[in-house]
């Protein structure tokens, strides 16, 4: 029986979920999860199950996001909002070092590494892939970012298998979901039985198993497991978008002069929203600042976007002067050259760039247009 323990799925109820939050808090984690605020479902500190957006769902489309009441009280009955977990693992502003000038000497002090340990509640399958993608960006043979590593190594991930596909979701096309199959400490699937939430819980690591053992639970019944599979299957069959993704690298790189880019450029405002909401975008800039006396100076890094003129600035002007070249840079990096750099696509099919684009530019549509413009 003990060897089966590791693979045994269990179920917990709402109280069990609260016990999970408490167990994580007790173990020193800062618990962060979805909550309703300013008419969107965002990620923030949560302490209780009551902080979750129970009974809410989202309606998403090109340039459109609305939260709408559900007919039931599902705790996780929505897709993803404007936030992604990168805002915790790779904060928008991060100090790198401080320099103190005293008489003749100048001392440079690296910024202290974070000691915070995050517990993420409600990580979707696409987001698990996004985190794994950023892991490869920040921690690889050439780069070993200490700030990202410190946060990432200590993070506890509680995944949730999506019960509702978002209006702009296409994780199935990108092979990133909707089922969370690895990279989590715990994975939950929410089942609704007569108005009550029941969660099928799978442990994905020793850390996860340890926390799980502290929760009130019972072994999953065969019908619960079947119901959980049905949830995932239903989500998989109701994706908002579809994008053929097996040929994107060569397709895009041989179409760098395709007139479609001019077409997109006429619509794109280069506002950069897509890069802010994208869970894998990592471009950053550095900024130096100093106090008025010039005695203390410091450098910080902050999120940047390839849509700014600054991004490609070299002495005399920007290499990507036109909106066309900046949009092309973003999309070809995300879907094509990212593969050369990091071994996988940079896109996880979460649909955020489509939802949060003010003019509703849809990358699945753009890619299809480029593909269809080629002679058969």
């Amino acid at each position: 029986m003990t060897s089966d323990r590791a693979n045994q799925t269990i179920t917990i109820e709402k109280e069990g979920l609260q016990a999970l939050f408490d167990a994580l808090a007790q173990r020193g984690y800062r618990v962060v999860g979805p909550t309703l605020r300013d008419q969107a479902i965002v990620y923030d500190d949560i302490a209780s199950v009551r902080d979750l957006p129970a009974g809410w769902t989202d309606e998403q489309g090109g340039g459109r996001y609305r939260v709408v009441r559900r007919e039931d009280n599902a705790l996780f009955g929505y897709a993803v909002g404007p936030h992604s977990w990168k805002r915790f693992l790779f904060p928008p502003i991060q100090q790198l070092w401080r320099a103190q000038r005293e008489a003749e000497s100048l001392k440079v002090e690296p910024a202290a590494l974070p000691t915070e340990r995050f517990a993420f509640i409600g990580v979707r399958a696409c987001e698990l892939h996004a985190i794994a993608i950023q892991d490869r960006v920040f921690m690889n043979a050439a780069v070993n970012d200490p700030h990202y590593r410190a946060r990432r190594e200590n993070a506890f991930l509680v995944a949730v298998n999506c019960g509702t596909a978002g209006g702009t979701c296409f994780c199935v096309s990108m092979n990133t979901g909707p089922k969370a199959d690895s990279g989590f400490d715990l994975a939950l699937t929410e089942l609704l039985e007569g108005g009550k939430s029941l969660f099928v819980v799978e442990a994905g690591s020793d850390k996860g198993r340890e926390v799980l053992s502290a929760l009130p639970q019972r072994p999953a019944k065969a019908e619960d497991l079947k119901a959980a599979e049905a949830v995932v299957a239903k989500t998989a069959s109701s994706m908002g978008r579809v994008m053929r993704s097996d040929d994107l690298h060569d397709l895009l790189l041989r179409n760098l002069d395709n007139p479609r880019w001019d077409d997109v450029a006429a619509r794109c405002m280069t506002c950069g929203n897509c890069t802010m909401v994208c869970p894998t975008c990592f471009c950053m800039s550095v900024e130096d600042s100093s106090d008025l006396a010039g005695l203390e100076t410091s450098r910080s890094r902050r999120w940047d976007s390839c849509f700014t003129m600054d991004h490609s600035y070299v002495h005399g002007g920007s290499v990507h002067a036109s909106a066309k070249s900046r949009y092309r840079q973003w999309l070809t990096h995300k879907l094509a050259t990212w593969i050369d750099q990091f071994g996988s696509s940079g896109c996880v099919g979460c649909g955020r760039c489509i939802t949060w684009c003010p003019v509703g530019i849809d990358i699945t549509e753009e890619v299809a247009a480029i593909r269809n413009s080629e002679p058969r």
């Binding site: 471009c283 130096d288 890094r301």
Partner: protein, 284 residues
């Protein structure tokens, strides 16, 4: 392919600068100065020709500057800086003793080893002579390992020629061909007037056994490449040093991307066969 130097010593965060002091400052041109820096902790910074450092003026900012000194000599980091913006201006005007933050060295190097046994053509335009100077020193330090060596240099005008006295010194070494030309000149210049690419057809080298190193403004490099190709030098034997917006210099911030390469990490020196498809697309 060019070698990549060892990463900064283990344990040293490449995003945090080391403090160096300006040891010497020399004016080259009306807007260009050369600084010699010394690391405050005394630990030398070994580099390969073609590599660059990120230099910080505390409170102003940080920019990439190629190392322009002799990699074979200990004794100070040499950087040649043109005053074109707030940080470069601040750097160029630092007095001896002033503090400078140094991160590096970063990037790929000139194919000085690969060129052994071949003729060498160094094609430089304007400030492009500075990142090539370490390669010239390295080649001259092992002169017998190379065939013919030609340095072809173009500047805007005679008054804007970099390292002029050094060029004259090198010319006196009988085994190196030095041709210079300017874009415009007044009547007291008796040398060549015309673009640097016009020096390529007449230079002495065997195109099939030549390694060419090119550095200068991108337009000049493109036309220089055309002239070298017209002579029959293969794309695998032509190396360029590319410039892009560099902020982190470690391949993380994403600014310096050119197609799928990070110029700070996979470059700045690239063989042309790798670069040619990327250079063919406008605004890539």
């Amino acid at each position: 392919m060019a070698l990549v130097a060892e990463k900064p010593a283990a344990g040293r965060d490449p995003m945090v600068p080391r403090v160096a002091r300006v040891h010497q400052r020399q004016r080259n041109l009306s807007d260009t100065w050369t600084l010699v820096l010394e690391m405050e902790d005394g630990e030398p910074l070994d580099f390969l020709p073609g590599q660059f450092n990120m230099l910080t003026v505390f409170g102003v900012g940080e920019i990439p500057i190629s190392i322009s000194g002799d990699p074979g000599k200990r004794g100070g980091l040499v950087h040649t800086i043109r005053d074109v913006g707030p940080v470069s201006s601040a750097l160029a005007h630092l007095e001896p003793g002033a503090a400078v933050g140094v991160r590096g060295p970063f990037g790929t190097d000139w194919p000085v080893k690969e060129a052994r046994g071949n003729d060498v053509v160094i094609l430089a335009g304007g400030l492009g002579l500075a990142p090539l100077r370490p390669a010239i020193y390295s080649v001259l330090a092992n002169r017998r390992l190379y065939g013919k060596v030609a340095l072809l240099y173009g500047a805007r005008s005679p008054a804007e020629m970099l390292f002029r006295s050094e060029l004259e010194q090198w010319r006196r070494l009988l085994d190196i061909e030095i041709q210079v030309t300017v874009d415009t000149a007044s009547s007291d210049w008796f040398g060549s007037v015309g673009v640097v690419t016009t020096l390529v057809p007449r230079a002495t080298f065997d195109p099939e056994h030549t390694v060419a190193m090119v550095c200068g403004p991108e337009i000049m490099m493109r036309f220089g490449v055309a002239a070298l190709r017209a002579r029959g030098v293969g794309d695998r034997s032509i190396y360029l040093s590319m410039e892009r917006n560099m902020k982190c210099a470690v391949g993380l911030c994403g600014h310096c991307q050119l197609g799928s390469v990070f110029v700070c990490r996979d470059g700045p020196v690239f063989p042309l066969d790798k670069l040619a498809p990327l250079m063919a697309v406008k605004e890539l």
